[in-house]
């Protein structure tokens, strides 16, 4: 057990070391940009995981809130507001909008909730495309400034003009998101989310205010979706209604389901693996979509918990098998899902 913990710690440290060394490892600027965008989308997918994976409410408004964050930061920073003020302000705005949208939609269940939130997401991108005086219509917002430099007491300031600096910025936000999600999930609060997902009637009967629990999950998820959107606007420099389009939501949904919903590693694995695989499969052109479609069906049927969930159960099976061989007894107690401990 202890040995396993140490091994796990080294494993995570190794991944962190690789993440820190990415600027030295990337072959070219183009690939580096894919990694940076993957980091941003990993934040979006992680937050979607909170409401969809852990709380079991299939919110399809995620790109809408990403868009609110992107337009908020884009418009505010162009008007001269510091990025470091515009980013939390936009994320809080999205959290507030999420709260208001949640009041009617979170009273619906299952596919009705999915449809209601999908509608909201579509409305956001329609507004972005038609409120020309504010959003610039379908041309969008261009020339969004890079994140404002951070002044340092002695050594001048940190600027975000290079890809390397931008990468470390998004990595820091990704780690922050992961930290918050980890704290939430491995707590009674996280168990309440899973209780609502698993059996809402029982959760209600044991004293969990299911509406407030869903609302908390929805608001936090939307806050981080907008955070990702705000960073995206500032790093990419231009946004358009497609930044809030539901096609983004469905991309993240695919990352989430393939990577593994209701795990913390799954959304990150999905957000990196799929865009990178897509790049290496360029030669297949449009057939790539076909392959991912088929892959999605296979995963949903045979690995309902995605890649990371599937790997975890394989490991449990392997451990159980070796225990049986050693002791001659089955050890069902080992079958703990690592991501659902309190």
């Amino acid at each position: 057990m202890v040995l396993q913990l140490i091994k796990q710690k080294w494993f995570y440290l190794a991944i962190l070391a690789i993440a820190l060394a990415v600027p030295l490892l990337v072959p070219n600027r183009y690939f580096f940009q894919i990694i940076i965008i993957s980091c941003i989308f990993a934040i979006a997918t992680l937050s979607m995981n909170l409401i969809l994976g852990y709380t079991g409410q299939a919110s399809l408004a995620h790109a809408g809130f990403f868009g609110i964050g992107a337009y908020g930061v884009g418009l505010m920073t162009k008007a001269g507001v510091s990025f470091w003020l515009a980013l939390p302000a936009s994320a809080l705005l999205a959290a507030l909008v999420g709260f208001l949208i949640g009041i009617p939609t979170l009273r619906t269940r299952g596919s009705y909730f999915a449809i209601a939130t999908l509608c909201f997401g579509v409305i956001v991108s329609i507004i972005a495309g038609n409120w020309v005086s504010l959003t610039g219509g379908h041309t969008g917002v261009v020339g969004i400034p890079r994140p404002s430099p951070i002044p340092l007491p002695l050594a001048g300031e940190i600027t975000f003009q290079t890809q390397t600096a931008q990468y470390y910025l998004v990595l820091a936000f990704l780690l922050l998101t992961l930290f918050v999600m980890h704290r939430l999930v491995y707590s009674l609060q996280g168990l309440s989310f899973m209780a609502v997902r698993n059996n809402e009637v029982l959760a209600d009967a044991v004293g969990i205010n299911t509406f407030a629990t869903k609302m908390l999950s929805f608001v936090v998820a939307n806050f981080f979706a907008a955070l990702a959107g705000g960073i995206y606007a500032s790093i990419i420099g231009s946004i358009s209604p497609s930044t809030a389009s539901y096609t983004l939501t469905f991309n993240w949904l695919v990352y989430l389901l393939l990577g593994g919903a209701a795990t913390l590693s799954g959304p990150i694995a999905g957000a990196f693996a799929i865009p990178i695989l897509m790049e290496y499969m360029q030669f297949l052109e449009e057939y790539r979509q076909l392959i991912f479609g088929a892959l999605l069906i296979v995963v949903i049927i045979y690995f309902p918990r995605g890649l990371m969930g599937g790997l975890a159960s394989l490991r449990v099976k392997a451990v159980n098998y070796s225990h049986r061989r050693k002791a001659g007894v089955p050890s069902a107690a080992e079958s703990g899902k690592p991501d659902q401990a309190f």
Binding site: R183, L188, N199, L202, D204, A205, V206, G207, Q340
Partner: protein
């Protein structure tokens, strides 16, 4: 301190034209076991659903320790101190035994979002309290060995024990058990009966729906008999077993003793 901890007054529930529960009144004394019995469709589970807030009464009142709790939402009533189990065993079946128990403790805790993120002292106290209560409850329901197992690997009887354990985690004032031994064989029924006796010995006030007469006669302090939504008898097990209306309800009007 009221001697009658849970009191139901003229409780009535209509579903469209159907009268499911009609003018039912009874009280549960502190520390007692009250059994509600009656043929299928008599309205027993509806009474539980009304008390636990899953249904709103058409008319009538429910008092807990003198406080009117009729018409409150289920989670609100749970906070007031009424826990329940369900006829078809309800558990969080995607989670482990300990997780199920921990969720039952949620209403005892006060840490919110920020305490959870920053692991404040309150959060740590809540966690310590939760862990202590889990250890206590695991021992009480006899599932200590299965603490880390998933619900799906438990036997039917273990699942029923766990459902009672989840209800006990909130240290309720009254616990409502809806057919806690439904679908169990005799040995398993005895196990659950012993658990219920242990709960009474620990000072809990219990309200129980059951079909197994022998078990109920042995267990209950008082019995309420329902038929077609109305109370037809109330009293000690001895009184009820001799009641003519009860015998007719169970064995049919033509039965001659």
């Amino acid at each position: 301190m009221y001697r009658v901890l849970l009191k139901v007054e003229n409780l009535t529930k209509h579903f469209e034209g159907l009268v499911a529960v009609s003018e039912v009144s009874f009280g549960v004394n502190r520390g007692d076991i009250l059994a509600i019995i009656g043929p299928n469709g008599a309205g027993k589970t509806t009474v539980f659903n009304l008390i636990s807030g899953m249904l709103r009464p058409t008319s009538g009142k429910i008092y807990l320790n003198g406080e009117d709790i009729s018409g409150l939402k289920p989670y609100h009533i749970a906070h007031k101190g009424i826990a329940r189990t369900f006829q078809t065993t309800a558990l969080f079946d995607q989670l482990r035994v300990v997780d199920n128990l921990a969720i039952g403790y949620k209403l005892r805790t006060s840490s919110g979002f920020w305490s959870t993120i920053f692991h404040t002292r309150r959060w740590k106290e809540d966690r310590a309290g939760c862990e202590a209560k889990i250890m206590e409850t695991l021992g009480f329901i006899g599932l200590a060995e299965k603490a880390l197992h998933f619900v799906s690997t438990l036997s039917q009887e273990e699942q029923k024990r766990l459902a009672i354990g989840v209800a006990l985690m909130s240290s309720p004032r009254v616990i409502l058990l809806d057919e806690p031994t439904g679908g169990l064989i005799q040995e398993e029924t005895d196990g659950i009966t012993n658990l219920i006796k242990k709960m009474k010995a620990a000072g809990l006030t219990i309200c129980i729906i059951e079909h197994k007469m022998r078990m109920i006669m042995d267990l209950a302090d008082r019995i309420v008999v329902l038929n077609f939504g109305e109370k037809i008898a109330e009293g000690t097990p001895e009184e009820v077993s001799k009641d003519q209306a009860v015998i007719e309800a169970y064995l049919g009007g033509d039965y001659v003793a």
